[in-house]
């Protein structure tokens, strides 16, 4: 069955090719960084938990060495060929593949349908570029390596943050924060409980970078015992709007690196927090809206 292993093979091959090109171009630190990533994608399941931990330490050591170089500027040719159509191959494959692969659970792991579709789309698009534009996959890897170097070490930040979340969960950080928030609420105040819940979701999401980590904690501390059980609020809006209040927090935090930091690098913004700055004026009024809506529903 085709599953996540296929996706890791495609992604790992790209990182490995970047490492080889890095050696060819004498960009040693970048090559080492990409080689470590390729190792993780190819052999991560075989080197054990401790081995993976050491691999992470090596990645961080390379990243903090200050020797990784940014991508070199690239010349763009004057446009020729059906470029927009080719650019839509990956989104279209993601869409079509997701729908199609779910119909053949024997062939493709339905849980990974979207990622498998994305990887298939990448291979398809590379083949079409070769056939239509006469540009080889090697050229693609070279150009992709430049973009990856433009993102630099920030590329693994989302994955490291997800791993930090696992350590936080193991240590019970959520329960402690939930207990603190629970103590801070004035007794008998629906508005107070609503504000604590909505703000707590946003703030805890800002710390964790992920509303998924915040939700079980805030639901246990405030949402279920106070808003639902004590004040008789409908659990559906309490849960749904609470989660969305958390999403407002996601817009505000560098901890949500894949949404906020990686795009800033990818768009070559000078300000690492430029995307967050552009989101703040939407996130804050929207958080207020969510808290007021929830208060209106529960009271």
């Amino acid at each position: 069955m085709i599953g996540i292993g296929f996706v890791y093979l495609v992604a790992g091959s790209f990182f490995a090719a970047c490492a080889v090109l890095g050696v060819v171009d004498r960009r040693w630190a970048n090559a080492l960084f990409h080689a470590l990533l390729a190792t993780s994608f190819f052999a991560g399941d075989r080197i054990g938990d401790l081995g993976n931990g050491v691999l992470v330490l090596a990645l961080v050591a390379v990243a903090t060495s200050g020797r990784m170089r940014r991508g070199e500027p690239a010349e763009a040719a004057s446009p020729r060929g059906p470029l927009l159509a080719l650019a839509l191959v990956i989104p279209a494959a993601a869409l079509g593949g997701t729908l199609l692969f779910k119909q053949v659970p024997a062939l493709v792991d339905p849980k990974q349908a979207t990622l498998v579709a994305l990887a298939t789309g990448v291979l398809l698009a590379l083949a079409l570029c070769w056939a239509v534009l006469r540009r080889t996959p090697l050229e693609g890897v070279r150009a992709g390596r430049r973009l990856l170097d433009e993102i630099g070490w920030a590329a693994v930040m989302p994955q490291l943050l997800a791993s930090l979340g696992a350590v936080f969960a193991l240590a019970g950080v959520g329960e402690v924060v939930g207990g603190l928030v629970g103590q801070a609420i004035p007794a008998g105040s629906v508005l107070g409980a609503t504000i604590a819940y909505g703000l707590g979701m946003a703030l805890f999401t800002i710390v964790m970078g992920n509303a998924f980590a915040a939700f079980p904690v805030m639901a246990a501390a405030v949402g279920i015992p106070l808003l639902v059980q004590q004040y008789g609020g409908d659990p559906a809006p309490v849960a749904a709007i609470g989660m969305l209040a958390g999403f407002c927090g996601t817009l505000l935090t560098p901890m949500a690196a894949n949404f906020n930091i990686v795009p800033a690098a990818l768009l070559e913004l000078k300000d690492r927090y430029g995307v967050i700055r552009a989101q703040a004026a939407t996130a804050l009024p929207l958080l207020l809206f969510n808290i007021l809506l929830l208060w209106w529903v529960v009271r």
Binding site: Y8, A11, F14, S40, F41, D45, D49, N52, G53, V56, A63, T64, A74, A76, A77, P79, L84, A87, P91, A94, L115, L118, A119, V122, C129, L133, R135, A143, G144, R146, L148, A155, Q159, S163, L164, G165, A166, V176, V207, P216, A219, A239, A240, M243, L244, F247, T250, P254, A257, F259, V262, P263, L266, L267, L269, G274, V275, R277, A278, Q279
Partner: protein, 217 residues
């Protein structure tokens, strides 16, 4: 209480602008030690989680295609497409993209767009082209707003789809308290916020268009 020291490490580390990767690893170590784990156990736990979350980093496999098309002139093509449309302002263009992103995410199609797939190769250059001639708008800010619009559209569209991760998580957590709710009821309650997000972000984009030439900020 002691386990919160990792959170403090994160906050301080980001504030003092240390390398974020180093800050994350130190925070994990401090948190684990505070919880009474030995350092090797923390490292193993961290390595295990790192290995389990590789799918987050797998998205970069699209970069060869994006890079190749950019060398073939994709951004210029995207620009000229927009420049040919008179009356298309940067605010209107991004509002249209916001609506597209919210609606497609509400249908569960979250992976068809994103910073690497669509924003860098298409949306950002198109938005910049639509802002051409505006001396009062910083191209850097236009690109940042393109990425921001993608995020806002995704976050406040996807929860309307009943089979998205966050809906399933909410259902799971509520089930744990003996509260059984159909995913549909959760997704319905995402609609008011989706509309509010469109209005608030759309209003900001409308303001972007209104700013008279020659003024800043």
């Amino acid at each position: 209480m002691l386990v919160l020291s990792g959170v403090a490490v994160i906050a301080l580390g980001f504030l003092l602008r240390f390398n974020p990767l180093l800050v994350i690893v130190v925070a994990a170590l401090v948190t684990g030690l505070a919880a009474g784990l030995d350092p090797l156990a923390v490292l193993a736990r961290f390595g295990h989680a790192f290995n389990e979350t590789r799918y987050v980093t797998a998205i970069y496999m699209v970069l060869p295609v994006i890079g190749l098309l950019e060398r073939a002139g994709l951004q210029a093509r995207a620009r000229s497409l927009v420049a040919g449309l008179k009356g298309l302002t940067v605010g209107r263009f991004l509002t249209g993209y916001l609506l597209f992103r919210q609606l497609s995410a509400a249908l569960g199609l979250t992976a068809i767009a994103g910073p690497a797939q669509t924003v860098r190769p298409l949306v950002a250059p198109m938005a910049e082209a639509a802002a051409e001639g505006r001396t009062d708008v910083d191209p850097e800010r236009v690109r940042a707003l393109a990425a921001a619009t993608d995020n806002v559209g995704l976050f406040f569209g996807e929860d309307i789809f009943i089979a998205i991760g966050s809906i399933l998580l909410m259902k799971g957590v509520l089930d744990g308290y003996g509260i059984h709710i159909e995913p549909f009821h959760l997704s319905v309650w995402a609609i008011p916020t989706a509309i509010a997000a469109f209005l608030i972000h759309g209003f900001r984009l409308w303001l972007l268009d209104r700013r008279p030439a020659g003024t800043t900020r």
